[in-house]
Amino acid sequence: MNTAGSPDFLQIRSDFPILNQQVHGKALIYFDNAATTQKPQQVIQGITDFYTHYNSNIHRGVHRLSQESTRLYEEARQKVQAFIHARSEKEIVFTAGATASINAVATSFGDSFLSQGDEILLSQMEHHANIVPWQIVANRKGCSIKVIPMNDAGELLLEQLDSLLTEKTKIVAVSQVSNSLGTINPVKEIIEKAHQQGIPVLIDGSQAIQHQEINVTELDCDFYVFSGHKIYAPTGIGVLYGKERWLEKLPPYQGGGDMIDHVSFEKTTYNQLPFKFEAGTMNFVGAHALGLALDYVSAIGMKSIMEREANLLQYATSQLQQIEGTRIIGTASQKASVLSFVMDQIHQYDIGMVLDKMGVALRTGTHCNEPVMNYFGIDGTVRASFAFYNTEDEINIFIRGIEKVKLMFG
């Protein structure tokens, strides 16, 4: 697989200590990367270093340690800004994760810009986290949810977008990559069309950030959200990117701590961006570790990662297709490294249980994507999702496992 000049991915794999272990007496094969990614030693060590040398609350103390930890936290913000090509670090708000980011926008935007009869446009393949926050605000404000439909391959029907974007549409929220199907959505086109009518767009980048180069300025999205743990950083840290003019307009959604400028019981004035949205003690260690994870990914190079993962997906897809009785769910022409499938007459839970005993970690079920499962008339899939540290050998073992499942249950 290695071509001249491409990184040595087997060497890179050794950066991930967790991968070097056995489960049920078999070498661990971790194919649940869409749920969460494993962490390289560089990130793990960075967390230990932070607690060993710098731990102190940020933005508050005059003392040396507080200044150091504040510097590391703000450096992490700059790294995120550079990584997603935002114009300004004011546009980078740290949150607990993509779900928290979406809830923040839904709450804040909803309070200020939604009223009775307005419409929120989502897509058929949204993760529940990009549906439910909008339903909550829609119920509160008397708005309705509209949905961009998809075809049997799991591709959005963009030709319907023109009729779905009406004067009632106040915001569009779509995922860049589907977590259950792997579809890479043409978000640039969606953003362009929405903008022609002056409608802002939120992009859920949870399944895209780790697989492709992201340039929010070029995309021209109004909001972009992702979770750190999907891109080799720890859990509990995430990002809300918002265009400065939008973040200026939105009211804070949580009160307390760093988001405040002055407080009296009559009136409180809020801090400037991005601190206006960062209430309470932030996960500054997580932010620092996210910065390290982005450094790590950048050092490998997103182009190499994309190439590697495309090869893995293509190999696994072609191998799986050769097994009679398997059906791949999500066959879009543009896909990230997610391989969802079902097997004739065999329950996904049985498949998952047998593969687990063979050391293969897969996801089974609805993947927080019930509308997608309903569309395909299934109650779940088995999902294998790959990262650059996975190998063709691992895919071979996975395929042998599927063949074994067929023998056992067929």
Binding site: H24, I346, H347, Q348, Y349, D350, G352, M353, V354, K357, T364, G365, T366, D379, G380, M408, F409
Partner: protein, 143 residues
């Protein structure tokens, strides 16, 4: 046979296997022996929902003993369901309420009863005991 005797019998049946594969194959066999639940019972009313697999459970009282019928949409789960039915069916409500299901642990299937495994099995045991409690109350109410 008592609940204890049936459990010991199952433990003996499983003891010959060290390999998970053989155990799973035995569970698959057991699932095939369990009569399929009539479709009138495979409904919302009788379902015990796991997030991933479903279990259906029906209970009846005959001559002071509870008859359980059950099914699952996943085969290995259905095999374990078959074992539960074997152990607790045709027993009195009092014996079911008193029972300690140690065999699951002993045959190495404990992980399947973890609350984090959303397969409906743990809820099934709870539901079987609830049925026993309900019938017990009914019996003592009559006497």
């Amino acid at each position: 046979m008592t609940i204890r005797e049936i459990q010991n019998q199952i433990i003996e049946d499983f003891e010959v296997f060290d390999d998970w594969m053989d155990k799973y194959n035995l569970l698959i066999e057991l699932s095939k022996e369990l009569p399929e639940l009539d479709s009138t019972f495979r409904t919302e009313q009788y379902v015990i929902k796991g997030c991933q697999s479903k279990v259906w459970l029906v209970a009846d009282l005959h001559d002071g003993k509870i008859q359980f019928k059950a099914d699952s949409d996943a085969i290995i789960v259905k095999g374990i369901v078959a074992l539960m039915v074997k152990v607790l069916s045709n027993q009195t409500p009092a014996d079911i309420l008193d029972s300690d299901l140690y065999f699951i642990n002993q045959i190495g299937l404990k992980e399947n009863l973890s609350p984090t495994r959303s397969n409906g099995l743990l809820a099934m045991i709870k539901q079987m005991k609830l049925y026993a409690l309900a019938y017990q109350t009914r019996i003592s109410g009559k006497s």
